[in-house]
Amino acid sequence: MRYDRILEDLLNRDDFLVVGRSVVRTDALDKVLGRAKFTADYVPRDTAVVKVVRSPHPHALIEGIDIEPALELPGVQMVLIAADIPGENQIGYALPDQPFLNDVKTRFVGDPVALVVAADEGSAVEGADAVRVKYSPLPSVLDTVDALRDGAPLVHEGGNVALTTKIRKGDIEKGFSEAEAVVEDLYDTPYQDHMYMEPEAAYAIPEGSGKVTVIGGMQSPFLVREKVAHILGWNLNQVRIIQALTGGAFGGKDDMGPLVCAKAALAAVKTGKPASLIFDREESVAYSNKRFPARIRYKSGADKEGRITAIDVDITLECGAFANRAPFWLWRQTAHAAGPYEVHNASIDGRAVYTNKVFGGSFRGFGNVALHFAAESQVDRLAGELGMDPVELRLRNILKPGSRTTCDQLLDHSVGIEECLTKVAEASRWSSRKRKRNGSKVTGFGVSCAYHGISTSRSTPDWSAASLILNQDGSMTYRTGICELGQGAPIGHAKIVAEITGAPMESIRIEVPDTDSTPNAKPTHGSRGLMLGGTAAADAAIKLRERMVNVAADMLGCPEGEVDLRDGKASRKGEPGETIRFPELAEELYHRGVSPASYGFYAAPKRYFDPETGLGVNYSVYTFAASVVEVEVDTETGLCEVVKVWPAMDVGKAIDPLVIEGQIHGAVSQGIGFTIMEHLKLRDGVVLTPGFKDYVVPSALDTPEYAPTIIVEEPYQHSAFGAKGVGEPAIISIVPAITNAIYDAIGVRLNKLPATAEMLHAAMRGGAR
């Protein structure tokens, strides 16, 4: 269905009521008053505390676990090990490679072995220390090069390669033979910690003998339900998951939600009493999932005209101890390998490799940050080799309506990257930019484009659901499984409902996601929360609107086409005199037996790909972004500051400009952190930087100046009002824009992130101009 036109025709308004305008977030009031409830805020005093007993070794066989010393402590209530798991001891996301509690061997420093349930925090910590686990340490592999050597210790029995991906398109030999310039290099990107302000938390309450409720921080309540039920060996309907307001997630809590909630649930079910598991900051940084590190070898060539003739890309993804989301992450990198450019000859290979380190996982940008860092560095270097302006070279290759992606997906509409790039170049006066030198400080400018497929990866079917009830008093209850993580997607849904039904925003209550009553909206990830979830909201709202209009037309004595719904009232178009307020209209629906409840369901157009060639239709649609940045590098110290950012994004349709800006600012900040500040240090598999002091993320002192955001609107036909997701592209485009600007400033290209002062200083000494 073409939801962009359907809605415009249906509403037939000169101007939208709330869509496209910045409105005050309905959740902001409770948050600013300190009344908003996050998981830990629900936990009553004297609730049992769960602590995880973790492996201190990167790789070790478990010879025995003695829980008796812990049980002898007065505050300890129970100690749970693998044998206590009623269901299957397996919680891997995509591959069955991740035991829930280990009893055979451990694969990273922090791998869980047992759970201690105790009366209070102190007793739980003491209990965890008292559990005696006898380990027999094994040789470990701590990087992908070692892991791929013949005879390397095996992290998992099947070998250290978890999976591979590939794309074969055109003829790269022919492509490279047509190239005037060919560049090739290796690009390394590190772990990044999410550093959400709220550490992982879950609170589980058992009910009777066959039900448990878990309140927790998460991104996908239905995934959490599935995993908790799997561990307990229960049916899905015996597990109730409630998503508490979640204090930042950025992908991290999509993976951690199930792991943490299942531990609290097992403790609660086994003890028969409520139990809570709340990570401290150190646990969160040392043992939770991180952005997957990657090493990308990238070769590309361009002809005299600056057209990219071929790319040959080889991606090695470091999984850490478990594959987790690696199949989806690696496939995203593979599918997006050319960047937002049309390239006819492509050969791409990817492999995900196990090591004995903390496992990687979901993080904003999902593979595309590392991929675009390589691809966009290469594009700049090709421009350099050909003596061409980097913006010009990009424009000669850029995706347009009618272009095909690396996977041969035809992009017939909603392709706004050319406009993003052109406008951002204009706004930043790219063609007349000037490097400045002030003492030891030099400025430079960089540009980068980005694209990110919206929808689930690997062509898995994607759909979403929502429900809407018109209550007797005219207020509305809206339910979606899309989670509020700070990004505001559910508020975007409410705006879509408000626009379609004419209900005032304040009359729409968004219920918290609760698997006992909320329709399954699928996960809040892949920038799909607004696009997929919001279109299900639109579907529910359209169905309810039809009934409201039908009854209102009868009451007003006019054709349905003449009924206008707005400001909580129904009236006849052009005759605002006679109005029916929504409480009255709602009463009439109930009185006439017209259903006041509606269920919205939306399925994305079908996608597919050929596993042999990788070609097919991979993502529903793509969001595009372009950024220009100005940096200042101190050539004495290596310290780099991002001075100014010019952001542009094709969002399809802006549902709320203020929310979009907020997403861009936050993504850029995380991108600045990833590129020049954040450095997760490990030694022998031990995370050495488990806090804000050592793992330095941007503070208020590290904010660049922002030019006004350039919003390009190329509507997507199959989503409500044409909106596309906006959460991820800004972090993807900012990272290479910064490194390209650093090169512009000092002539040094760091292919290994982070480009901290230390690294830049060393690189400049080793061959700066």
């Binding site: 300190g34 307001l245 930042g248 950025f250 401290d280 804000f692 208020a700």
Partner: protein
């Protein structure tokens, strides 16, 4: 156990506390004032900021017994729903709130800043806020909110 007396959000309260009890835990566990957040527990993130005798402090770094005889104000004491503080209004209006977990700490720090310095420069705002981390907003709209609050309070 030690007996202490603290004026919390305008009300005098007596407590028996262990000498090692943190003010953060007293506020959250004993008083159920859960607007004050645990973010790191070691004074690095600012999420637990409260006012002690009007000054912004990290409640995870203050022993409850050290607040004996003093005044503690938390986010819950700043305003009620119908009568927001200009700082709170500004945070809402400027889009300075996303996930909201850091928000109470930021509001408390901002109030302390504006009490000390009613007309801070942007550089002074950034310097004062540097101990409060936010991972969602990139601080842009937070700084705008502080500037807007200063204008509201000044007019």
């Amino acid at each position: 156990m030690m007996e202490i007396e603290i004026t919390i959000n305008g009300r005098k309260r007596r407590f028996d506390v262990e000498p090692n009890k943190l003010l953060l835990n007293l506020v959250r566990d004993d008083l159920h004032l859960t607007g004050t957040k645990y973010g790191c527990g070691i004074g690095e993130c600012g999420a637990c900021t409260v006012h002690l005798d009007g000054e912004a402090v990290l409640s995870c770094m203050v022993l409850a017994v050290d607040a004996d005889g003093r005044t503690v104000d938390t986010i819950e004491g700043v305003a009620d729903v119908n009568n927001l503080d200009p700082v709170q209004e500004a945070y809402i209006e400027e889009g300075a709130i996303q996930c909201g977990f850091c928000t109470p700490g930021f509001v408390m720090t901002t109030k302390a800043l504006l009490a000390e310095n009613p007309d801070p420069s942007e550089a002074e705002i950034r310097e004062y806020l540097k101990g409060n981390y936010c991972r969602c907003t990139g601080y842009v709209n937070i700084v705008r909110a502080v500037q807007s609050a200063a204008r509201k309070l000044g007019s």
